[in-house]
């Protein structure tokens, strides 16, 4: 399997740190210097995740001369679909005019979703003999956050990415992935209502009622998430490197999920990652959930600086869930 190319799309509303500070009541300097967010983009009311994903896919397909009928597999990483049903992947396939024989499904993961997604794509292509896949990410948290909640609204931004993956390409190779799940920590990032456990419409459920805004918004326990990252991810990085026969200094750059600048710097210190090798884009986009890693890779691949390089990718977050792998780019 080869990751051949990546394209991204941004929604139309741009907000700088001053605007985010105004919305949340947090200090602008805190948002810029500690969270690391200097600007971010969020969906306008008329925009949708599927629409944004379609824009990313169209950009990618135009750049690579990829015809809709050539796409065999479409995987859409999201936990914030436009609607509960039908799934985003089916809607996106319709938007793009992809063929009826397409395999398309959503992958319900957040910040670990891209790295999991790469492995799922590789496995699916190998198992089915399909040739060409699009791996798409779009998790627009602007649609599940409360404006005044600093813990979330000072951190997240919206974006979509589309990655072209070929079964027989030669631009790159995915290494062995280290996976992890800690459901016991799941309360750290959650939405309490609006799904089957606390429904608004249901059979055999008493007291079904419209849920209040607080129950429907994203909640994040920053301390628990920080502890999780600092405890689990250095171990995952070490395990991944060992499984791939690599030493830390053989990795050319590190594309880790952009939880916040503070978290990244703390993680890098704890894991022994040289700061100059740590890729950063939270300053320009905020934490775009499963889009953070592909957007880091897109920038590096676009300027040609990945040729012959080995990059470690590590996604971690909601679940709690994590996945770390390496991608070796050919020369």
């Amino acid at each position: 399997m080869s990751l051949e190319a990546i394209a991204s799309a941004l929604p139309s509303i741009r907000q700088d740190a001053a605007e985010v500070a105004r919305l949340t009541g947090a200090k602008e300097s805190f948002i810029k210097d500690k969270v690391g967010l200097k600007q971010r983009y969020i969906l306008a009311p008329e925009e949708t995740g599927v629409g944004l994903a379609a824009a990313a896919c169209e950009k990618l397909m135009a750049a690579k001369g990829l015809k809709p009928e050539a796409v065999d597999v479409l995987i859409f990483v999201t936990q914030t679909p436009d609607r509960k049903l039908p799934q985003n992947s089916a809607q996106l396939a319709q938007c793009l005019g992809l063929k009826a024989g397409l395999a398309a499904f959503d992958l319900a993961l957040g910040c670990s979703g891209y790295v999991y997604g790469l492995q799922v794509v590789e496995s699916f292509l190998a198992a089915t003999g399909c040739e060409t896949a699009l791996l798409v990410t779009c998790d627009p948290y602007s649609r599940i956050m409360a404006a005044e909640d600093t813990a979330t609204n000072a951190v997240f931004g919206d974006a979509a990415t589309a990655s072209l993956v070929l079964r027989r390409g030669d631009r790159s190779r995915l290494g062995i992935t280290d996976f992890g799940t800690d459901g016991g920590g799941g309360e750290a990032i959650r939405i309490d209502a609006g799904a089957a456990q606390a429904p608004s419409v249901a059979l055999q459920v008493d007291d079904v009622a419209a849920h209040d805004r607080d129950a429907l918004r994203l909640k994040m326990n920053g301390r628990e998430v920080f502890n999780f990252v600092m405890t689990r991810i250095p171990v995952s990085i070490e395990t991944c490197l060992a499984r791939n026969g690599l030493a830390l200094d053989e990795v050319d750059c590190f594309a880790c999920h952009q939880g916040s600048l503070y978290m990244l710097q703390s993680l890098a210190k704890r894991a022994g990652i040289p700061p100059e090798k740590l890729l950063i884009n939270i300053d320009r986009y905020g934490n775009t959930v499963s889009s953070t890693i592909p957007m880091l890779l897109e920038a590096q691949m676009a300027n040609g600086s990945m040729a012959g390089k080995t990059v470690l990718v590590s996604g971690f977050g909601v679940g709690l869930s994590w996945a770390t792998s390496v991608i070796r780019f050919g020369s």
């Binding site: 805190f30 500690k34 969270v35 600093t150 326990n221 920053g222 301390r223 628990e224 920080f226 502890n227 600092m230 916040s260 503070y262 978290m263 703390s266």
Partner: protein, 83 residues
């Protein structure tokens, strides 16, 4: 470990953990200091400070829940001692 820690030892633990997170922060405190109200650390440094304390103790500070809001040094010393 915590049930045998002296007051001096818990204060030193707090000082050292703060200094790991924000250079010089631990040197500014006394038992009367309120870490949040006096802006000794911000919310991100606070998470990191608690992590460092827990790493040193080898145990979670169970009293410091999501709703906990008393970051006076004297209160934290009590939390550590009773943990």
């Amino acid at each position: 470990m915590t049930d045998t820690m002296t007051e001096d030892a818990t204060l030193l633990l707090i000082r050292d953990s703060l200094n790991k997170v924000a250079e010089g922060a631990g040197d500014k405190i006394t038992p009367e200091t309120d870490l949040v109200a006096e802006e000794i650390v911000d919310s991100l440094d606070l998470m990191n400070f608690l992590f460092e304390v827990e790493q040193t103790l080898g145990t979670k500070l169970t009293a410091v829940t999501e709703d906990y809001d008393d970051y006076r040094v004297s209160s934290l010393m009590k939390v550590i001692a009773e943990n």
